[in-house]
């Protein structure tokens, strides 16, 4: 496969990764959550407590990346020659998608006010103690 075709396939997969990664953050969508206290997984919009959606978002973005890459590798083989314009356009889309999602997270997290978990019984001298 020629490098322009390989780049276009990888670029489209990168855009899919960025969109699948940010999707649960911009709309109430179900995603896999891991609860580090109960060591349990759930698949929902937003469970209570300190559950982590990062693993789920990474997993679904990786699946989207792999599926789009597999499809794109097949499709770009059948396209006529891809010129500099196609490479430039895909590069622009990749950078726009990645930087846009980065800015989205930077913006929303900058203004986030985290809610601390309740301290466990007798945790004052260890976990939640500021003086450690």
């Amino acid at each position: 496969m020629t490098p322009p075709r390989r780049f276009v396939a990888l670029g489209l997969a990168a855009v899919a990764f960025a969109l699948a990664f940010v999707y649960p953050a911009i709309t109430p969508a179900r995603v896999a959550w891991y609860d580090p206290v109960g060591h349990a997984w759930s698949y929902e919009v937003r469970p209570p407590g300190v559950a982590i959606d990062f693993f789920g978002r990474c997993a679904q973005a990786t699946v989207a990346w792999a599926v789009v890459l597999a499809v794109a590798l097949v499709v770009v083989r059948r396209l006529p020659a891809l010129g500099a314009r196609a490479v430039g356009l895909v590069a622009a889309w990749v950078l726009t998608a990645i930087v846009f999602v980065m800015l989205f997270y930077a913006w929303t997290l900058h203004y986030r006010v985290p809610v601390p978990a309740p301290l466990p019984e007798g945790a004052g001298a260890s976990a939640g103690d500021r003086g450690r």
Partner: protein
Amino acid sequence: MAQRAGAAVTWARVLVMLHAAAAIVLIGAATHHAIIAWGYLRGRFKVRLGRIYAATVATTYVTTFGLGLLAYPTFRYEVRALFLDRYEPWASNLFDTKENFAALGLPLVAIALGLCRAIGPELAAGRTREEDRALIWAYAACVWLVAAIVWFAVVSGLAITLTRGV
């Protein structure tokens, strides 16, 4: 229960040490790779080095990211939920920004690795000068963005760990 949490913290500390060690290699390789990509744009092709750095960045990026993922559950509760969210919310927010940026760097690392063998001083058969130039710009942009993400992640990781580590 407390014994289990203690073992998890000890294990997480080992993982964070390895995570930091991998990040040291990663930041060096990513910075060198960015310099090599800058050279490509100016017509100086150190192709062999470019390929070595692309492979090194890909390996250490995935390793660093994976080790961070393994340590994350312990960090999320023992450090973030119990301390940072309560006393240093900026560090909590910075950590989440860092982890999201790091994840978004993964497909860029794949692009850089996929293109590193295609770029060189010689025009490949069937490719025009404009196509080569466009590929080099695309490659360089991905490599620079990866280097920027790595620098941001390392500096913010240090700042967060100085505030409160696992």
